[in-house]
Symmetry: D2
């Protein structure tokens, strides 16, 4: 296949594993690196039928013969570890190569890596995703991208393997800041929804009828349509974890400070998520925000 | 027409005027009362072509020969004035009559009026609406109802003239508490959206591209789809006014206290709306919440 | 004694009982009314040794031969009940009489009663207190007063029996608004202190040493000096109850809205107090605000 | 003088300059380093009369012949620059030496430096101060200290030159966390006070009388006693700057997250301070928090 590439994929977690699988299915050769080797084995067992799936012991090794490096790890520190230093991917990726980072990290590190790549003759795209585990499995992620037009164009052709929607927002870091915008919106929505569900429940309202009455209007949200019933049923064991959300909100709050804007409700909700973590809910869905609110007198 | 009714309509404002117009169109006889008489004249001039539109000098006079009384005034005090006392509609409506209130008021007064009606052999439905001026004009309101099954059934047949959706939520007051749930959700959404728009603007992002990237996912809301661009353009002169919103949130916060539930973000947003009122934005759309947030350093 | 007065005292609760006792000790004749008769008996048994303590069955009866009516009941509704209507004190107090209200109520009702008194040829002083049960017992209350200079002068002479400090703030209602200022300040202080104690504890700091280090500087407050150690020890069973505080904050938030000012942290803390009520802490001291904050990982 | 020491002092700013001056007065030999050389000259001109005041070009040079290194710079990055690397003080301070840091920084860097010092045979005390510029000028600072008992004992003898109060809170980092406790308390106090002043002003109350009435009771605070009148007069040009406060709150919020505690009001006030920065108030006193609140309708 003419546009088949050699791709180094770093981080085979809940998101990265299936994304790397889609790349194989699209005909690319993938050399994967995962910090915990067992997970790399499991990934090859699951996706790697035809010899196009390889495993490397370090990011540098994975990137050595690659044209493209794609990462999806945890946070700023993690990203720094897989990219920088003698074992990092940037040490071996040949000039002209492309780096796509799908990790949700700070705009600061995205801009720094873009600069480091530029200095080394590499292209960089910050490309955080939304759509969750389901989106990664089904190849239906939404991807927000920052980088030069050339870098984006090259990245788009590859990311198409697992994207339902790709948008080139702007220059380096713009993908990350767009993702922050997304998380800021969700914070407010979840705060209102949590209070609304507790209120409706305490008022002894028929939860389905309330949803029916209000979900077609100005109070509607994706979260209302998808989480109202589960929140009312105290079900939180799916979706995007609060521990991840606090990481993302931390970056958003830091960036807001740098931009000179105030995000009071976001900062408050971040603290409220801390209360849910203290209740043991860190691995639960962001809709578990409701857990910190005592139930009413009903 | 067999199901043509004699209806007293109290309050021909932005919402009530067109609603009463739809009743005429549906074949009912409407005797309207408006505190400011000129508005009643204007209403008859606009809607009353065939002699079915009458004007009364007091609510009591309007209700005297009516089978149904419908109100859409401002707040608790206003509702009390048009319903109670010697000039109020309850003084003259004949036993067996039906009262439908479309005003957004407290659940307390809704329950009290339901009781007063029951004591007088009348039926009562609290029936706050959503959908705004456009919904009233187009006859496409969503109506949340509280009351007995019989009362609701009778009300439904009439309200169909201007409703796109009617839901019988529960007993007396349940319509109002469902509306409060709606407003609590909107508070959180608007808070997040305001911070997000300011953030995106300060980050110098292309606002249309951000919307494109995030409006299909977990951050989506009706408000995002309908207000993102106008907020980014500082346009707030349409839609549901902040002065009304603070009234509604006041009732919601009071009811939350009575129900023993906490609504911290709602209470905070209510205060933030107070800051926008102080900036002169009381008559602007609820999306003007963003006005209290300084623009970033950009 | 030349300045001995006939005083009707309404409400012999935690605050009112000892206050009325001080009036007896100061040589006044006191006719007391308490809704629950047993409490009036207990009061006379405790304070009424020399025949100057009488008990009346209604506020109106207590006020019939009085020159001064003093009230210390619960909230707006309670105050309205003991003052207004055929059994209320205003029905029988002779023209020229003075009404002093020590209840913490809304400025609205204070202004309304001042007007009603003026219409009936009576003087009115709104005179909420601070200093708590200990202040009432020891006669060391601080009293914030609103009313005409004449009314205040007359009230001052009597209130001296139980006051450590009396300040004439301004016209009718000014005593109540000053008390609201007091409660707004306390809300912020308690919020900071709660978070600080949890933080210090989670950081495993020696709580006494921290107090020693910071209580002499810019972070100092009466609450820090008096509640730091008890909060650290989870002791909340003394002082001003959260149920009362929420009443007071409700009036303050309502008044802020009327005044066109925003009180976001006060409104937030009010909701947080609601969470403590839901945890069963309504009768505990305002410092129990800390209870809603989970303890750290320590 | 037997306990006269050779001291390297890094950072001759608003705080450090006068502190280093007190050390000279106490008989120590001080070699000062300041990033901007002119400031070092000005310092020697002001304080260095008898030949005990020297100036070095780098922290390493200042520390070469010193027994003690004292720093008072800006933030974590600044501290790292003056301590670490080839030009940093740790590169030259002889084993057995003592490092005292008066900068308000993160507990993380304090613990890291303590460890680095221990590894190099040095003692380290984190010793943030309170008392402001006046305290530094008058030698009346309160100092919160973290470190080993030996390190603290050695530091105490020297810091006495400018301290009114020194408290050894605990191990490395405990000085910084105690300072965070201080700033958390202040955040809540300033939030309440800001809303209270705006409220009192809108209610048209006599500000002096309100202060008189409430400053003796449960709402009292150092800030109330010292800032009530200046806030009411819109005077903010003195005292601890908001830019510094946000730095401190940033560290506190980060540490709270690490400790697993929630600081919602602190996080909210931090954002509100961001709004005051956007209004141009970053260099103003923390009491300028009130500036973000619109004045009432008065
Ligand atoms: N506007 C909107 O988008 C929406 C509004 N609502 C709710 O619907 C209700 C009406 O809103 P809207 O129509 O926009 O308001 P308007 O101000 O346009 O109309 C209010 C009507 O009530 C009458 N009224 C008010 N007070 C009294 C009184 N004391 N005695 C007699 N009549 C009185 C007014 O009479 P007069 O002409 O003399 O002033 C007027 O007819 C409110 O509760 C609002 O919250 C709900 C959803 C959307
Ligand atoms: N406790 C404190 O530390 C402080 C309290 N305050 C304020 O002082 C006021 C009184 O507080 P406190 O004394 O503690 O309260 P208590 O509950 O101890 O006493 C309340 C008194 O009011 C009477 N009362 C209440 N409702 C009515 C009614 N509807 N009709 C007739 N009598 C009524 C009660 O009668 P009965 O015995 O029949 O219940 C009782 O005598 C409150 O407004 C409170 O906010 C102010 C500062 C400090
Ligand atoms: N001001 C106050 O009221 C209080 C301040 N503090 C804390 O004390 C510390 C100092 O405050 P303050 O004296 O007011 O601040 P100033 O800005 O007046 O002084 C800061 C000093 O640090 C030096 N400095 C900053 N960054 C560096 C760097 N990267 N390398 C070398 N030197 C550097 C500056 O050098 P240069 O002259 O070259 O800029 C200057 O000497 C801060 O952490 C502050 O939070 C604590 C309590 C009260």
């Amino acid at each position: 296949m003419s546009d088949s590439k050699h791709i180094a994929f770093l981080g085979l977690g809940v998101m990265g594993g299936p994304m790397a699988g889609h790349l194989l299915r699209a005909g690319h050769t993938v050399t994967a690196y995962n910090r915990t080797p067992a997970r790399a084995q499991a990934w090859r067992d699951r996706f790697g039928s035809d010899g196009a799936a390889h495993i490397a012991a370090t990011p540098a090794e994975a990137a050595r013969d690659a044209q493209i490096v794609i990462s999806c790890v945890g946070n700023d520190d993690d990203l720094s570890q897989v990219m920088r230093g003698p074992d990092g991917a940037l040490a071996t990726l040949a000039p002209g190569g492309l780096v796509i980072d799908h990790t949700t990290v700070s705009a600061r590190i995205a801009r720094a890596l873009a600069q480091e790549c530029a200095d080394g003759g590499l292209h960089f795209v910050d490309a955080p995703v939304s759509g969750g585990q389901a989106g990664a499995e089904n190849g239906k992620l939404a991807i927000m991208c920052g980088g030069t037009p050339d870098a984006y164009a090259a990245a788009e052709a590859v990311m198409a393997a697992y994207a339902a929607r790709m948008v080139h927002i702007g220059g380096a870091g713009a993908g990350q800041t767009a993702k922050m915008v997304n998380q800021i919106c969700i914070s407010g929505i979840m705060a209102g929804l949590s209070e609304a569900v507790r209120f409706a429940d305490a008022a002894n309202l028929d939860m389905d009828k309330v949803l029916d009455a209000i979900s077609g209007g100005a109070a509607q949200s994706w979260q209302m349509e998808n989480r109202w019933k589960t929140m009312a049923a105290d079900e939180f064991d799916f979706g995007f974890a609060i521990d991840w959300m606090r990481k993302d909100l931390g970056y958003a709050i830091e960036e807001a400070k740098a931009l000179g804007v105030s995000v009071p409700v976001t900062a408050l909700v971040d603290q409220f998520y801390g209360e849910v973590q203290a209740l043991g809910g860190g691995r639960q869905d962001t809709s578990a925000l409701i857990r910190r609110l005592p139930k009413g007198r009903r």
